[in-house]
């Protein structure tokens, strides 16, 4: 950069730094307070966010931008999840598939995104979830395998569809059973997904 250019840049930066002045209050904080109160409490973080956060611990934030090389989806549908009354049976979802009928096939080099779609007829304030993986499958987040076999969390369910993506990876070919539990209103639903990992 020429001397003239440097001088111009220096002058510009001084002008910009001079903008760093406190704006007049003009009732800003009072107005902000009203809007915060009207907005209600912070929204709950999603369950998978908690998994990622729990295990991130300094890992580079790469998930899912580069971590998900390929996504495949398996869907678990839970219907009629009701908070009250709890006596009604919860689930009418399909029966667990035998291991001979994989719901999803994914090469070992790819990451499978299992989308758990929990459909509720009414909003549920608090539902407990747990997903368990067999030996040979691992949770995947932030571009790396996570050292967990099972993870549980609690979150509310909205009325209608509640999709919770879970990224997993298989390390060697085979068929694996992924188990997901949901508990709400004193009832428990168990669902199984069979994931087939192939060579490649």
């Amino acid at each position: 950069m020429s001397e003239l250019g440097e001088a111009e840049e220096r002058e510009l930066r001084e002008q910009l730094a001079a903008l760093r002045e406190d704006p007049p209050e003009l009732g800003f904080q009072a107005s902000l307070h009203r809007r915060l109160v009207a907005a209600g409490a912070p929204e709950p973080a999603s369950g998978w966010d908690r998994v990622r956060s729990f295990l991130r611990r300094g890992a580079p934030v790469l998930w899912p931008a580069v971590g998900v090389a390929a996504g495949v989806a398996a869907f678990l549908v839970m219907s009629t999840v009701q908070q009250q009354p709890p006596a009604q049976p919860l689930a009418t979802a399909e029966a667990p598939r035998p291991l001979t009928e994989p719901g999803t096939v994914v090469p070992a080099s790819k990451v499978a995104v299992i989308k758990l779609d929990f459909t509720a007829d009414v909003a549920v304030e608090q539902a407990d979830f747990q997903v368990s993986l067999p030996e040979g499958l691992t949770f995947w987040a932030d571009g790396e395998d996570l050292p967990l076999r099972s993870f549980g969390w609690t979150q509310p369910l909205n009325e209608g569809s509640n999709v919770i993506p879970i990224a997993v990876r298989g390390h060697k070919p085979g068929r694996y059973l992924v188990t997901a539990f949901a508990r709400a209103g004193g009832q428990t639903i168990e669902h199984d997904v069979v994931l087939e990992v192939t060579d490649g």
């Binding site: 510009l12 903008l19 704006p23 800003f28 902000l32 915060l36 409490a41 580069v66």
Partner: protein, 213 residues
């Protein structure tokens, strides 16, 4: 400055819905967020509305903050995304209008300087803010955070979710554009990789850049 333990306690309280705790948390950042908003508002009169909207989003998102970065970085990152969302959503309906000088928002001359000089300075600042608003959002963000607010390269990179080299490049190009604007020239179109629709999204834009190298 809030100490770490106090910060954690305030975050926990605010996450449970304490507006008062949140207000304490952000109290030392209000002026900066308002200035930051000024660069993305249609006019100075809209800046405070935009800043408040962003702060409400910060509050509503607070449960996703888990100390994976400093609170300050996270706050600016959420605010920046809110500003970019607003910029993007209004882009389609933006009407061309001259930015009027709001009566009550211009800095009044201080009592220690002559009125003429104070007004001239206020007008000059308005001119620079208007020029800043003409910059592509990525350049604008970098210039405001670094040159106006005095953040470090690393802080700006963390807020924007891009490498430090990208921040330096955006700063350099942003200053060139800004000088041209202030000199009365029309800003040249920024390259598609920096200003096209969709590059507001951090993940997309940084990913594209990586693949180009």
């Amino acid at each position: 400055m809030i100490e770490n333990d106090e910060l954690r306690a305030l975050v926990a309280e605010a996450q449970d819905g304490s507006v008062r705790a949140f207000e304490i948390l952000v109290s030392s950042h209000l002026a900066q967020v308002r200035r930051f908003a000024r660069a993305f508002a249609r006019s100075d009169a809209d800046a405070d509305d935009l800043a408040q909207e962003a702060l409400v989003k910060v509050y509503k998102s607070l449960r996703s903050f888990r100390f994976q970065s400093t609170f300050k970085t996270w706050l600016y990152s959420v605010a920046r995304n809110a500003f970019l969302d607003t910029t993007r959503s209004r882009a389609g309906r933006e009407r061309s209008q001259e930015d009027p000088l709001p009566e009550n928002h211009a800095q009044l001359p201080s009592s220690t300087e002559p009125a003429d000089e104070g007004l001239a300075r206020a007008e000059e600042r308005q001119r620079i803010w208007r020029a800043l608003r003409e910059l592509p959002p990525e350049f604008r963000t970098a210039v405001v955070l670094f040159d106006v607010e005095g953040h470090t390269y690393e802080e700006v990179a963390a807020i924007e979710g891009v490498p430090v080299g990208t921040v330096k490049s955006r700063l350099s190009r942003g200053r060139v554009l800004l000088r041209a604007l202030l000199a009365g020239e029309r800003a040249p179109e920024a390259p598609a990789s920096e200003s096209g629709a969709g590059t507001y999204d951090t993940a997309v834009s940084s990913h594209v850049r990586r693949s180009e190298k």
